[in-house]
Subunit: 411 residues, 2 copies
């Protein structure tokens, strides 16, 4: 007979919010409450910060309606934190978990959150605190190893695809150069999703710059001029994390440095530097750059169905792995068809602090586009996009001056 281990559940959210992170929260709460051995389901306010400060809420009796409504709301309902706990910090977390009888800890976040899970798990084992720790993946950057893709990415990819579809239509109506700056420090997945904006052969983005490829300003200006010569307009997608040949980030903001003296990354600076480069070439007119900013991860109503389901399912599976199977780890998504998935539990070590980059097979040889393989990869994740159609009508032959066509007779 299987041992039934009773105790409490704690769930927290970390890092930047996404459109579907609350689906994962609802998944943990709803699924955990099905197990009779679970006493209370707690939520930590502001991630790990809320744990050390003992700011917990009791979700045991939260109504299903409220949970489902929250699940549909973007942003982190439990609030979030940028804290990246070290061993000492994790020691404090563990004490609070112990005090509150927490037997199962679920942390929804990226690779930093997985690292936190790993440290806590190790310390719990050392302290003989019977604790199961499961990391539930979440990131719009899609930069976690082991999993095919991350919950949160599909909806952000959908936003980026829609944003560029709209920008492309705008650029067609009023031609010029349009630059859209997309989130992504080291991984280009989100910027690359802009490829889904293309319906017609001459649709933009015409150029896609990823952090995985070296950015060369002179080459960029030449690329834009080539596109302008061909289409008389140009739409550019660029990741905010692009670097030059020396490894310096184009968006490095030395006026704003963190406590270690490292420059912050500024999408606005990427926009300005690229715009300035084009303006120095006097032949290019009507240059416009937009930085998509927080809209990418928070716009309500911009959710991919697939992403929504999966964000829920990874949490359900996390609870089952921990409570039913008494296991630790990180939940991964495996793609098994076009399009279907299954879930697996991977070690925390395989995810913690590691960053996935776009695979070479996904980047075109030109370095300024993606491949068909990438398009096939991202398309089901972003879901079907709204209709984009051009008008179909023949040109009217021009008429010699003075001639008059058709009658304007008064009958």
């Amino acid at each position: 007979m299987r041992k039934i281990i009773s105790g409490n559940v704690l769930v927290a959210q970390g890092g930047g919010p996404t459109a579907v992170i609350n689906q994962s929260l609802a998944g943990v709460v709803v699924e955990s409450r099905k197990f009779p051995q679970i006493g209370h389901v707690y939520g930590a306010l502001q991630g790990v910060q809320g744990i050390v400060n003992e700011k917990l809420i009791d979700l045991t009796e939260t109504t299903e309606h409220n949970l489902e409504a929250v699940a549909q709301t973007p942003g982190a309902a439990l609030l979030s934190t940028r804290d990246k706990p070290d061993k000492e910090y994790c020691g404090k977390i563990l004490k609070v978990l112990w005090k509150h009888g927490v037997r199962y800890f679920f942390y929804i976040g990226g690779n930093d959150s997985a690292e936190t899970c790993l440290i806590i798990k190790k310390q719990a084992a050392k302290a003989r605190h019977k604790l199961r720790v499961v990391h539930i993946p979440k990131t719009i950057d899609n930069d976690l190893l082991v999993t095919d893709h991350c919950p949160g990415y599909g909806s952000a990819a959908r936003f980026v695809a829609l944003a560029f579809a709209g920008a492309n239509l705008d650029n067609q109506a009023l031609p010029g150069v349009y630059i859209g700056v997309v989130m992504g420090r080291d991984a280009g997945f989100l910027t690359a999703a802009s490829c889904l904006a293309r319906t017609y052969p001459d649709d933009g983005p015409h150029l896609i710059y990823l952090p995985e490829r070296t950015f060369d300003e002179a080459r960029f200006v030449a690329d834009v001029k080539t596109v302008l010569a061909r289409h008389k307009r140009c739409v550019v997608a660029v990741a905010e994390g692009i670097k030059d040949a020396k490894g310096n980030r184009i968006g490095a903001d030395w006026e704003h440095v963190d406590k270690f003296g490292n420059p912050l990354l500024s999408g606005a600076l990427v926009a300005k530097r690229l715009t300035d480069a084009l303006e120095r070439d006097k032949s290019i007119e009507r240059i416009r750059a937009d930085v998509f900013g927080y809209l990418q991860r928070s716009l309500p109503g911009c959710v991919s169905e697939v992403d929504r389901f999966e964000a829920r399912e990874v949490a359900e599976k996390a609870v089952q792995y921990a409570i039913r199977h008494d296991l630790d780890g990180s939940v991964a998504i495996r793609r098994i068809g076009d399009y279907a998935v299954e879930y697996a539990l991977k070690s925390l070590e395989s995810v913690a602090k590691k960053t996935r980059h776009m695979e070479d097979e996904y980047i075109a040889a030109s370095g300024t586009d993606v491949t068909e393989a990438f398009r096939a990869y991202v398309k089901p994740l972003a879901g079907p996009l709204p209709c984009i159609e051009r008008i179909a009508a023949p040109a009217v032959p021009s008429k010699p001056q003075g001639r008059r066509a058709g009658g304007m007779r008064v009958r």
Copy 2:
């Protein structure tokens, strides 16, 4: 018996695209084709520029499916122009209309387009060219006189409301100061729509800065600090057209001037100047600004239902006024309930080149918020927003160190 006047129809789109401008295009084409006296329905590519260059397409046989798919697509399907024709330019337009037997001209655009319609109408009358000219309103700025509101505004207002709802959730999860810069040179209607983002009493935007009120930097910094003291976070909505007490625009970009030497208006500059002002006050941390840019007028899938219907209906009515009633003018929307509308034809003179500003009754006495009257005005236009809900759960009492709650017994 009524005179039946046969001839051709020409339709064009001008100025910045919107999410629903193609509904108006489809409305003109579908409605015009119902009249047997209409020979051809032409479209001008790139607005008035396409007319003088005789770049016309023949929409007479364009399929209904294509028209309906185009109607759902944002951006100007006939392409657009920033040209503002003078009398000479309008003379050229008139020659082309004459050559192609155009009896009815419909121009979808803002107050500049209405001005073009007015000049053309006057010149046609002088030249005894039997021409009916009807202006079909379109602008995300909502700055046309006579009409209750403008097609295009509702969908853009919806975008702004959603953008701030998302930004507010993000700001709640990871507190700091968030500034969202909204389009709007002289009229604050679009920025004001951010008020719809508020669901809970402490939701942002906490401060709304409109072009209708003088912007004072010191007052702004003080306002933000007051909000921070109260909510420990602050969301700000600001129109890119805000001006200081001397009438200088905060976003005036003197590095980029137009052919008359006037500075261009830069949302990025507004973002930078407001951010800089807050940073100079060392007490304020984690300041972030986003400029919504073109997304406001072009994001596919972000359409208000009311706006969609009305953009179609103003075009249908325009065709009826011109072809059935043989009248010129600009179509206006009159609100007759909560919520219902009817349409009326107003003189071109009443709309041409005039700018509507936000009425005083819509702006709060503080100058940094809108009134309930404005909220009631804008709410039906933006349509119902997706669910925004917070989690409802009681706080868990903190426990003294060492004490242990609940059992973690192995049964």
